[in-house]
């Protein structure tokens, strides 16, 4: 885990003090809302349907138990006893009072956390692979690079007022667990002839104009990476549109000028940036990397697990993944109870997860973009104890990557941008497929729901996607099929007219029935869809 140095702490503390003053001036009337709004947004404070909403950054989704307990404390003291984990590996609180916000941020700062750059047209929280440092298939730990990018992008003077918000993901495995190519910049660390570098993809995104990022450079040496990313941003900052919010993302720029032209511009800018010496010296990279050194794994930890408890065995098979260290495992905690609210956790549950991390996972937790939690380093001998504690807390849902492991944005129940509610649809679908055996028979199905075209629920990246729209004041839901945010990235397509709330649940069920009828061998839903095409699904759903 990265630890703040005095400089990190000082800038976060200074920002809290500055925001306290700004809030005070807003409450006293020295500032109008028009003047105050951009300032509160720079500190992650939105005004949503019911109250102020605070988005707290969790850098690359990594935190320790002390920080996790603080998130629970914030939920209890300043909110309504729960938090909502997001598709950007952050947490949101929905019921924040403006007059208490500075106190809240001060408490967050005491555990090296903040809400800076979780809104606004700047570089947002850097996201990464939730299995970083634990995955057997990674070529390097992506977190030092994500941390380097975090430091570089924090308060970057050139990039605080970009044409539009900017999202960066860093992974280091072929298996993409971070929807890397659906980011403004996606970085995949790779090795070429033993040299560490990165494939750099630029111009991906979801929202109203979804695009898969094209590869802009197949190999940027690691010691050039920061300069290269700076060049990518500079070209965007220079040519990105500021006259039309809907055409302001970098994906539009690259689409309009073409990847080749953009690549050439970046190459020219990169040659200039390299003369500025912004890439960190080796000593700084080593300093950062040292924070992410592997924990003290036991070399002779047992690999055997007693699977005699059938519920435990099911959970192991579904939610526990292979660790690079023998005798250890990666534990996924699903925040998707059947009929529950995807991504929500009570303060008590957050505390339980913090306790388990401290006791069993070298004090580390991860937040996933699929709105779940990970304990990255659990000794296999401790798995039963972890499962039992999770079960007691209502957190042992054995549905990772199954149809009830649904991504859903807050939707019209909370969000002022939404056109339709997402959560009730997710709940109804989960209840329709509540039978665990039925879910397991269906296998991996990534189902993702957004309550508006902005796509916070990643509907374009769902094997099955649902988009809520407003049709003359009535909620309506469109069905998309064929998307993926993984290494087999693709964009789902709307297959026909929309449905009401119950109709979309029926449509999803019909899609799964088509899959069950047509699947071959070990095909997943998405594999069958890609092989047979949309027609059999359309016929079953609309025929």
């Amino acid at each position: 885990m990265y630890k703040y140095d005095n400089y990190d702490q000082a800038i976060v503390d200074a920002r809290v003090a500055e925001f306290r003053d700004q809030v005070s001036r807003r409450l006293s009337g020295e500032m109008t809302e028009d003047q105050f709004k951009p300032l509160r947004l720079m500190n992650g404070l939105y005004l949503q349907l019911h109250a102020y909403m605070l988005r707290v950054a969790i850098p690359y989704g990594t935190l320790d138990s002390r920080q996790m307990r603080m998130l629970a404390h914030i939920a209890r003291k300043y909110d309504r006893d729960y938090g909502h984990f997001t598709t950007r590996q952050n947490i949101q609180y929905n019921w924040i009072k403006l007059e208490q916000c500075a106190d809240l941020l001060e408490e967050l700062a005491s555990v090296e956390m903040h809400a800076i750059q979780t809104s606004g047209n700047c570089i947002r929280n850097i996201s990464s692979d939730q299995y970083a440092g634990a995955a057997a298939d990674e070529v390097a730990d992506p977190r030092p690079w994500a941390e380097l990018l975090r430091q570089w992008s924090s308060f970057h003077p050139e990039f605080s007022y970009l044409p539009r918000k900017f999202k960066i993901a860093v992974i280091a495995s072929r298996e993409d667990r971070a929807a890397m190519r659906l980011h403004d910049i996606g970085i995949e660390l790779v090795k070429q002839d033993g040299v560490l570098g990165a494939r750099v993809f630029v111009g991906g995104g979801m929202g109203r104009t979804p695009m898969i990022a094209p590869e802009i450079n197949p190999f940027v040496r690691a010691d050039d990476l920061l300069s290269y990313v700076e060049a990518c941003l500079r070209v965007y900052n220079r040519y990105g549109r500021r006259d039309n919010i809907y055409k302001a993302r970098i994906k539009i720029l690259i689409h309009e000028i073409g990847a080749d032209a953009y690549r050439e511009q970046v190459a020219v800018e990169f040659a200039h940036v390299k003369t500025l010496g912004i890439d960190p010296p080796l000593a700084e990279l080593e300093r950062i990397s040292a924070f992410f050194a592997p924990p003290a794994f036991e070399a002779d930890a047992t690999d055997s697990v007693d699977r005699s408890d059938p519920d435990f065995a099911v959970w192991i098979d579904q939610n526990v993944k292979v660790h690079k260290q023998s005798g250890y495992a990666i534990v996924n905690i699903s925040l998707k109870p059947i009929g529950g609210i995807p991504g929500d956790a009570s303060s008590a549950q957050i505390d339980v997860m913090a306790d388990l991390a401290e006791q069993y996972s070298f004090d580390e937790l991860r937040i996933t973009h699929t709105q779940n939690i990970v304990l990255p380093h659990v000794a296999k001998r401790d798995l039963y104890a972890v499962w039992a504690a999770l079960n007691d807390a209502g957190l042992a849902n054995a549905n990772l990557d199954l149809i009830s492991d649904i991504i859903a944005c807050p939707g019209l129940d909370y969000c002022s941008l939404a056109n339709a509610r997402s959560i009730p649809v997710a709940q109804k679908i989960a209840l329709r497929f509540a039978d665990p055996a039925c879910q397991r028979d269906l296998g991996e199905i990534k189902l993702k729901i957004s309550g508006c075209i902005n796509g916070c629920g990643h509907h374009h990246a769902g094997h099955i996607g649902i988009l809520g729209v407003d049709r003359k004041g009535v909620e309506n839901y469109q069905l998309l099929l064929g998307g993926s945010g993984a290494e087999d990235v693709s964009l789902g397509k709307i297959i026909g007219p929309g449905f009401d709330e119950d109709g979309i649940v029926d449509a999803v069920e019909k899609a799964t029935e088509v899959y069950k009828k047509l699947r071959q061998a070990d095909e997943r839903f998405i594999d069958t869809y890609r092989r047979v095409g949309v027609d059999p699904f359309k016929e079953a759903i609309y025929g």
Partner: protein, 98 residues
Amino acid sequence: MKLLTGNDLKSGAVTWWTGAGWSLHVEDAADVGEHGEAILSAEQGARRVNAAYVIAAVPTTDGPRPAHIKDRVRALGPTVRGDLTLKPADPTAGEWII
């Protein structure tokens, strides 16, 4: 009818113009007719409300019902957490939204 709604500056809570002040309950909301913008301007200036706007509503025997679902969600609370609405003891309260 037309209602004036916004959020309380300090707490962020949804509020409704009653004709004399602000209430958390849409049942108390008054028809502002064509005066919404003028009231809005004065009240925002006095920092008694934030991000206020005028909405269409339908009068009913139980009080005004906002015309759009978004404002009905604002008026009562999230449909998926009855315990967090203004009527936590009424399990059927959410039906008013839909």
